[in-house]
Symmetry: C2
Subunit: 275 residues, 2 copies
DNA sequence: TTGCTCCTCACGTCACGTGAGGTGGC
DNA sequence: TTGCTCCTCACGTCACGTGAGGTGGC
């Protein structure tokens, strides 16, 4: 009979670990003195401890490996578990490598003293149901014209939605675009309406903006949108530097408006580049 | 002002996460209603949340990234942290790949219906201080001679150590070997004596068995050592299958002896094969 | 008496997920 | 009245590490 300390030394584990194994039920002392509470182990239990360590080494949790410790490990059972852990391991390796790439990209930015894009992230933007108004003109995108479109479009939307009793945040709207055959863009003003019952009118259509993978960042400044242009440029580069291909026009979502100051979420949809 | 739910939706995180960020101190609500306890966020705080997510995405903990969220991220500071995480990530990738290799090796064993070596592990065996007696004969290794050596050597050791007042477990000893110039082996019988003050006698020398990386497994059976030979064969193959090169003779450590039944820890030193 | 081993709680780790139990406005 | 949102605990996760406080044999 070995004391817990001797057994721990032989097995190369801590005394605390052995107590833990008892508590979890994966390795019980051969005997516990009912008076002192001292645990005693038999030498051959080292074989079980080795099995435990070997299985742990393969990435199994104590909970998972517990049934495999007893007697005739059914081989198939173990094999099933291992196929699973193999998949998980492969995923983890892939993820860590991707993260490593991001870390190195960031270090490169820092080396260039280009600490841009610190609050830029790539994420999946969920789909969103909106009521929207299209720009009627046939001409292409032009910022002065765009601002001439915004206010009346917002007025139309507000009038219709109020009539229909649709609730929403009045300080918040989304500007997005569809491409015309000639390559120019049609701006569309949209406001989120969740699942409220409203199916559209001749002036206002209902649509669902699809969920997309996108570079997202926050613009904060005046409503004149002066700063937005360069930000989109940075987002574009950020996407490319991280292995994504920017897709079509972005979306601007005004989240807050206080006087002339706006906070806008800029969204640039991207596609992952394989290879 | 945004409610916690609205802010969470915009940021793509859970409400619980935002409460957690407050508790940890990395992202506080702009205002908390003193009566209801309701939290309110400003839209521009999304930028901070994005930074937080970006840094988390690089593998930093909330604790690590906290100082980097405020204002002028010193660039150098961030760079320092990232160099660290890069190292850690690289290590993790390496470890996961090694584990993946072990998993695949195990799956191969199972496919061959060869569930050997389930209680074999490769580990670092710590150095150990021993008192020992060498086999005096000039002849090579021979099992019958070996057994003739064991009992008298044990008697010598016991006599000397008792005289010197050195304590140890009487059921436990180690048999190891040194190679002679002609390639044959000299067996040595050793018993662990820890740090007790004993410096040796003409019959008994004191030595330290160096710590080694080794394949270790447990043999359980009769003292005649019949089953030991094949086990070493399996250990040898196990080492090779896992990218190690077996080194020289093994060590047998008898841990328990009950009548004719022994429990022995078999140790086969190995070297890691790079490449 | 001092050292060593062993014991039983019990908190801490990391970033939240998941109830439980209760409240205030539509 | 029902649903929805928000709140505050507080346990659970995983495999132990790390005290705190106490005991028994050399």
């Amino acid at each position: 009979m070995l004391t817990i300390g001797a057994f721990a030394r032989l097995g190369g584990v801590s005394v605390r670990a052995l107590r833990h194994y008892e508590q979890v039920g994966v390795l019980l002392p051969a005997r516990t003195d009912p008076v002192t509470g001292y645990r005693y182990y038999r030498a051959h239990q080292l074989a079980r401890l080795h099995r435990l360590q070997a299985l742990q080494d393969l990435g199994l949790s104590l909970h998972q490996l517990a049934p495999l410790l007893d007697d005739g490990i059914s081989g198939e059972q173990l094999s099933g578990m291992l196929v699973l852990t193999r998949t998980q391991l492969a995923e983890q390796v892939a993820e860590h490598r991707a993260r490593l790439a991001r870390v190195e990209q960031r270090l490169r930015y820092i080396a260039l003293e280009d600490d841009m894009s610190i609050d830029m992230i790539i994420k999946r933007v969920p789909a969103i149901r909106v009521a929207q108004v299209r720009y009627g003109g046939a001409e292409g995108l032009d910022f002065s014209r765009l601002r001439g479109f915004l206010e009346p479009a917002l007025a139309t939307l507000n009038r219709v939605l109020d009539d229909e009793g649709v609730t929403r945040d009045r300080e918040s709207w989304i500007m997005h675009y569809v491409e015309r055959p000639d390559g120019t863009l049609t701006p569309i003003l949209a406001v989120p309406i969740d699942d409220q019952p409203f199916e559209g009118t001749p002036d206002v259509e209902v649509s669902v903006l699809a969920d997309v993978e996108a570079v997202v960042t926050i613009y904060r400044g005046t409503a004149s949108h002066d700063g937005v242009g360069p930000l989109y440029g940075q987002m574009w580069r950020y996407a490319e530097d991280h292995g994504y291909r920017p897709q079509g026009p972005g979306r601007d979502r005004v989240i807050e408006r206080v006087g002339d100051q706006v906070v806008v979420e800029l969204t640039l949809p991207v596609d992952e580049v394989d290879a």
